[in-house]
């Protein structure tokens, strides 16, 4: 009867949403029955002990690399939490917390072994790379050797330093911009300080030294010559009489007669009699061998071939090649001339070439118009 009245007054059961409950996932170390770290060991909290049979078993100092105490790891720690449905009337529920969560992160042995293996592998890879980079040459100061034997002390190599030229030497290579003077006027080696041509042995030795040590500073080509010049065995009594201008340009055809009158032709890199018996470096010989034909080609025509001026007025040449017809500039009439006769301009005919149609006189060369 009362139920009916209640149903009539209050109504049917109602389902109402409370919401999301505010809870705690972990009760913390101070909860009863849990473990907390104290004085280097896991001890049960001030609440109820985990096990009354062996309370001191949990008080163990974990070794390095070891996990939680075996008892703590095997037996789950129990944290009591209040039940939401019946917190007051029902006994408190117990939530099991995994013992693995209580392990310190440092005490995982697998991770340490992994880091150790990774470090060892890194060291070995580094050593291997060092050996590969150095190509097995352990004399390089920065190379890392995989062996434990100490490296030999690096032997200091003398660097090929070019000595400073002597004050009376005047330099190994002379560049002369002054006009050439004959041999009679050329100064003596003692007076002029012209460096003698070095012997090939010191130069070859210097080049070998340079090739052995690629890290050595690059020495200018003049350095071996200077060092060779400083060697007493390379000194020669006779000086090189010819100064060489490496960038001498060939003379122009028009200036050749004047040059021939002023000074004789200069042959570049020509071996002098004084230097003849002495063996020259291969590089110098090759350069002279290359330079000699070019110089002869340039100088020979300049010295023998006079400049040719072309004249006009040649009209015809007889087929027999004995006479040629020229136009007289005064009368504008054709006049026949033979070899040996004198033209109106004053020059005499020397040769008549019918095939090429040319007439060569003493000063000019005529061709058919």
């Amino acid at each position: 009867m009362n139920h009916s009245i209640t149903r009539l007054v209050v109504g049917e059961p109602i389902q109402v949403r409370l919401g999301r409950r505010v809870t705690q996932t972990h009760a913390g170390p101070s909860a009863a029955g849990s473990l907390h770290w104290c004085k280097g060991g896991w001890v049960p909290s001030s609440g109820a002990p985990l096990s009354s049979a062996a309370p001191a078993a949990h008080v163990q100092r974990p070794r390095a690399g070891a996990g939680a105490p075996p008892d703590a790891a095997s037996s789950a720690s129990v944290v009591p939490l209040a039940d939401a449905d019946s917190p007051a009337q029902e006994p408190a529920a117990r939530k099991v917390v995994s013992a693995a969560r209580l392990r310190p992160a440092k005490s995982r042995p697998g991770r340490r072994i992994g880091w150790a293996l990774a470090g060892l592998a890194a060291v070995m890879v580094g050593a291997g790379l060092a050996v590969v980079w150095t190509g097995g040459d352990l004399e390089v100061p920065w190379s890392v050797s995989a062996t434990s034997a100490p490296l030999p002390a690096p032997v200091p190599k003398p660097l090929p330093i070019a000595p400073a030229p002597a004050p009376d030497d005047g330099g190994a290579v002379r560049v002369v911009s002054a006009p050439y003077t004959p041999d009679a006027e050329a100064p003596s080696p003692a007076a002029s300080g012209t460096a003698p041509i070095p012997s090939p042995a010191p130069a070859a030795a210097e080049q070998a030294v340079v090739r052995q040590d690629p890290l050595a500073p690059v020495v200018a080509p003049a350095a071996p010559v200077a060092s060779a010049a400083s060697a007493p065995s390379a000194r020669l009594p006779a000086p090189p009489p010819v100064s060489v201008h490496a960038h001498a340009t060939p003379a122009k055809p028009k200036d050749a007669p004047q040059a021939a009158q002023v000074r004789p032709a200069v042959i570049l890199d020509e071996a002098t009699p004084a230097v003849g018996p002495v063996a020259r470096p291969a590089s110098l010989v090759a350069s002279s061998a290359k330079a000699a034909p070019s110089s002869t080609k340039v100088e020979a025509p300049v010295a023998t071939r006079p400049p040719v001026t072309r004249g006009s007025g040649l009209v015809a040449i007889t087929p027999d090649g004995k006479s040629a017809v020229f136009t007289n500039p005064k009368t504008r009439l054709p006049v026949q001339y033979k070899v040996g006769e004198q033209l109106p301009g004053g020059d005499s005919i020397r040769a008549i070439d019918f095939k090429e149609g040319k007439v060569v006189t003493s000063t000019k060369e005529y061709s058919l118009d």
Partner: protein, 132 residues
């Protein structure tokens, strides 16, 4: 009573809720309920509930002191007595502070269960139930 979804079923018969302030109802002054009380209306004054729970529905509103000897399910609004004085709520058992609760009161209870979203302006004292 509560399930995993955070819901509760209010069964008047099972919970011995015999009184109800229906929606739109207004009660002024002291209200004493012998048995459980379901409030969906508005009450201004003191409320005393014995022999059952107090269920303050979301649309219900109480302004005044509340005394309950059992549990209390608070979904609605508890207003302050004045701007300077909060209401007093004394729950002997467990009080459920639902997500829709808006209370300006000092709550004294045996145990409280809080839910996300509950707005409470005041103190909460929880004391274990007295052992007889």
């Amino acid at each position: 009573m509560t399930n995993d979804n955070g819901e509760i079923v209010i069964d008047p018969v099972a919970m011995n809720i015999v009184n109800r302030v229906a929606p739109g109802s207004f009660q002024s002054g002291t209200y004493r309920s012998a048995g459980g009380l379901l409030v969906e209306g508005k009450i201004e004054g003191d409320v005393e509930v014995t022999g059952g729970p107090l269920v303050l529905m979301p649309e219900g509103e109480i302004t005044g002191s509340i005394r309950v000897d059992g549990e209390a399910y608070l979904f609605g609004t508890i207003g302050a007595l004045s701007e300077q004085e909060l209401s007093n709520v004394e729950i002997a058992g467990v009080v459920y502070l639902a997500e829709t609760l808006q209370a300006k009161a000092n709550i004294t209870c045996g145990t409280f269960v809080n839910y996300h979203g509950a707005r409470i302006y005041g103190h909460i004292w929880s004391s274990p139930p007295r052992e007889s």
